[in-house]
């Protein structure tokens, strides 16, 4: 299973990276002034390059961490790259590769199939709150009994158990500030529940 998954991801990664290379090549042949090149080429915000001194956004950070390779592949497969680099603000509960491995066998492979793109996107949006929630704020949410409204439309409970934050029963391992919000690392996939 593990090997299969890995292969799948490698393949999908190659697919994406090769796609990107193409984009780069096209760009190089395009002169600064495109007067001769009448065909406009449109790229999403995820392609905006990071420059020195600038803080990286959620996707740029996730891409640098090997433990998020499954998540990044899923984001790209679902076609939501541009959404996770948006001005937001976004708070992303980011499952590690090991979190995906905890899912029933075959789940990830199924989700990565093109026909399941909407379903995959829906699951991913359940990991994103369109708001700015540093840990301190999450503690406050827990104290006040406020739920987190997720991009999936679901409301997830927040609990503070002895100073540890749990979102929908899943504990936060680590938090990273990114330019467009926060990444909180979790080791379980937040599968949207059937009920609200």
């Amino acid at each position: 299973m593990k090997i299969k998954l890995a292969t799948l991801f490698i393949i999908s990664f190659f697919a994406f990276t090769s796609c990107k290379n193409e984009v780069k090549e096209t760009k190089q042949t395009t002169p600064t002034s495109s007067t001769s090149d009448a065909k406009p080429e449109h790229k999403g915000q995820a392609n905006v390059k990071l420059t020195e001194g600038e803080q990286a956004n959620a996707l740029q950070v996730a891409k640098t961490i090997e433990d998020f390779s499954t998540l990044v592949a899923a984001i790209e497969a679902a076609g939501v790259e541009d959404a996770v680099v948006n001005a937001g603000p976004l708070t992303i509960f980011a499952p590690l590769n090991t979190a995906f491995e905890k899912l029933p066998e075959g789940t990830v492979e199924t989700l990565l199939k093109p026909e399941n793109k909407p379903k995959l996107a829906y699951i991913l949006t359940n990991h994103v709150a369109p708001a700015n929630y540093p840990v301190k704020q999450l503690m406050k949410e827990a104290k006040k009994g406020r739920k987190l409204y997720m991009a999936s439309g679901k409301y997830l409970p927040v609990e503070n158990k002895d100073g540890k934050i749990f979102v929908d029963g899943v504990s936060i391992i680590k938090s990273v500030k990114v330019s467009n919000g926060w990444i909180h690392v979790i080791d379980q996939v937040l599968v949207p529940s059937e009920k609200q």
């Binding site: 395009t30 495109s34 369109p130 301190k136």
Partner: protein, 663 residues
Amino acid sequence: MKTILKSVLSLVALVSFLTSCAPTTGDKETNGTAKGAIAGNAAEKVYVAPGQHDSHYAFISGGFNGQLSVYGLPSGRLFRIIPVFSQDAEKGYGYSEETKPMLMTSHGFIPWGDLHHPDISQTNGSVDGRWVFVNENNTPRIARVSLETFETEEIIEIPNSAGNHSSSYVTENTEYVVAGTRFAVPYPQRDMPIEDMKGNFKGALSFLKVDPETGRMNIDFQVMMPGFDYDKAHPGRNKSSDWFFFTTYNTEEANTLLEVNASQNDKDYIAAVNWKKISEYVANGGGKRVPANYAHNVWDDNKHMAVTTMKKDVLIVEPKEVPGAIYFLPTAKSPHGCDVDPTGEYIIGSGKLAAAMTIHSFSKMMKAIENKDFDGDAYGIPIIKFEAVNYGVLEQPGLGPLHTEFDTRGNAYTTFFISSEVVKWNIKDLKVLDRHPVYYSVGHLMIPGGNSRTPDDKYLVAMNKITKDRYLPTGPEVCQSAQLFDISGDKLELLLDFPTVGEPHYAAGIAADKVAPKSKKIYKLDENIHPYATKNEADSRVVRKGNEVHIYMTMIRSHFSPDNIEGVRVGDKVFFHVTNLEQDYDVPHGISMIGANTSELLVMPGRTATFVWEPKQVGVWPFYCTDFCSALHQEMQGYVRVSPKGSNTPIKYTLDGDVPGVD
């Protein structure tokens, strides 16, 4: 008979119908087709597809609007308006407490200026894309605009000057930026009868030294010239790079009805000034420090504020102190443009009232100086014999020549105001090669790098004073315009009309790749040393000092901290010191407070800005973010409670019910 008459009449009618109809239709068709073909071709040349970049920047003067507009070429798209000498609500420039000192002068706070001539800094005679220098004509000042931040970094006032017009041109390695006075004024300034002008008024030519690292300017010296009008200037290039040339008019020294009285002399002069020689003279202790009073305003990107220093003296050099440094070259009637070709050999005076253009030769000038080929002097300054310095004249090139720029192929391009055209001519041969009408009444023109040693000669931008029917009408006041030409071929090809913001006196252009890679994206928060910066939400707070209330506020997507403030009273002076904590490109936040004189202060990532609010009414008043920053932008708001004057409501500030920084 009747029938015959009838048939004759009908025949005439038919013929006239045919003749009147046929040519019209034909005309329309030919015109239509011809225009269509040209338009199609031109459209391709200026089309920059969505998401693609222009190949050049153009910095176009905003004239009476006091700003500098940034356009892309060839598209003619407007990217930004950089406020320099005028307040600008969009950027809060001249409104925020930090930027107000930029507009300080010896006459006090001047919120409105007349910006004329942009010139890009140079290295080895080529535009280097570090700074743009611009002049203010009315209250004489020179400003330096950074091409990293696209903001005004420095403004220095020019004393002993009025109508700062022959400015702001840079030498080949940006050693100096030069400012000449258009109006002669009493020196020193004093209460005296106007009619006693002659001999008592002077024309100062100011040489501002530029620090090669920081770009900081200071007036190194002023040459106190005779009281003529110094209209335009151009530094020498290549072999003539030690010299600076200024056109003069009103050498009659008339003080009234100049349109007649300043046009009496058949020739005025181009003043040739060896700046290097004078620079050495002052470096060795030459010149005399005299009292003056002028403002020097400097912006600091780490403090995020400007500071005004009033300077109290200036170094004056009288022409007679440095023999061999200044000469007059007789030039056809009331010249405007003074332009030097890339080789530095040809000095072109555009006598705006003359039938011919005067082209002087630098090598002839040097020889004439050596041979003392003079024709008397003016106020002790030798006048070189016309024949001894003149290379030739371009006879009947057009009417009302104003300004000339150059290509790399030995050609010059001159604007003609009265005949509304741009004329291409070969300098060496003194031969007109092509002419193209402009719409209408062109002032200056610009070729990127076209006044430097290395023109980048694909495009030419003509800047027009009058547009009349060229655009949809907008009432009595219609836009001024720029027209883009392709000059890469033998013939000038008109590609595009685009409107400008204010009167485009002049422009400077440069290849985008010399500027774009250095463009700043954010201000680093850890380099912010603004005295009222709040670099952490936990440090946001409100402090009362007598009747002053200082709010140390932060902004981040998507809230202010604090966002509930109480204890402010009517009669207080409330300072909002707002720091944008974002470190992400293109995420500014704005702030507006009801009843404040500044609506919308836009704060860039990492920057601190301040506005003052003097609440006049009791109540609870909201403030909000004015820039659509995020998905929760509409939620970015807060309240200030204003109690009556003399009330005891204590200062209280919270975010989500808690005092920021207190767990």
